[in-house]
Amino acid sequence: MRRSGIGMGILLALTVVLMSTTVLARSAAFKDNIYNPGQLKPVDSDLRVRVGEPAPDFTLPAITGERITLSRFRGRKNVVLSFVPAAWTPVCSDQWPGYNIVKDLFDARDAVLLGITVDNIPTLFAWTNQMGELWFPVLSDFWPHGAVADTYGVLRSDGTAERAIFIIDKDGIIRSILVGDINKRPPLDYLIKELDKLGDS
């Protein structure tokens, strides 16, 4: 009887929780293909780089088939690294489409944007296709899994990346780091203000 009471209680509680699921995917563009991971620990890693240090170099494959090396921008462009946790998740799916309409703001600040996740290329290809044609490279840090994210100290314990932004100047020096709450999208205002500071120096 006790077991059946506990069982019924658990069943009832589960029913209530399932009934209370809220919609996190804000854009209708992805239809019902967004997986809702629920509320996650805001930050789950320890940074391994600091502002003022040289940005660790890396080479990663892009969904276009080319391989992108960070140091190739040295002396030519400021670089914004946008790590997002995972494809097909709510906040990530709304972040890069916003960046996709502000190429002019990046160009005006002599900056390029590199989007990075730890997903594999086919997954990234399918996911970003839902966003329209992106003007910036999307890089896969899938194998060795999350190696670049780990080098920067933004690989979470579950194998996803933090929602993080690194701003690197033309000398290859990290000038700004934001490891934000994974559950929230960082405002575009922040990114543009930090890029503007590069022009001030």
Partner: protein, 199 residues
Amino acid sequence: MGHKKAGTVFYLIAVVVSLLFLEAQSFAFNTPQNGDALPDISIPVPHNEAERDYLGIKGGQFFQIPRIKAAVVIVEIFSMYCPHCQREAPEVNRLYTLIENNPGLRGKIKLIGLGTGNTTFEVEVFRKNYKVPFPLFADEDFTFHERFGEVRTPYFIGVKINSDQSHQVFYSRLGGFGGAEEFLKLVVQLSGLGKGGAQ
């Protein structure tokens, strides 16, 4: 007997906790449907004089949608980050132009956009990128979004405003509205504007 009693007590506690949880959920806001009133939200009065003139809002710091001087208001809930909203923007602009170029509708149908989760800067980026000619408002902390039942974007709501400032929603739908001409015809028909039924 003791086990039986403990099981019953546990079950009752689970029921009470679950009912309390459901009660809390019932405070979540629903998306207004046809015939409903809009949620009572206070929108900052625009600094831009042309936008204040368009809305017919004079003075004050905040306004409610039914105070807009119009017979019909189309509310677009959008986000700068939403690819669907980006794709829809030119068609929504065309809807505005069709209305403004029609002497019978100009001044009677007004459009506003609420940028869900967007900062003022982000809303301005959207406005400039797509040359949006009607007033857009930032909803940075999702306050309006929550009151509208946390809809996905883009979401369009048509509301008919009566001369006594009472109002009713006559259109409430997720996703793009298709062609601007067809949508405008639908708005005129559903709102009763074509029959002179609205203000």
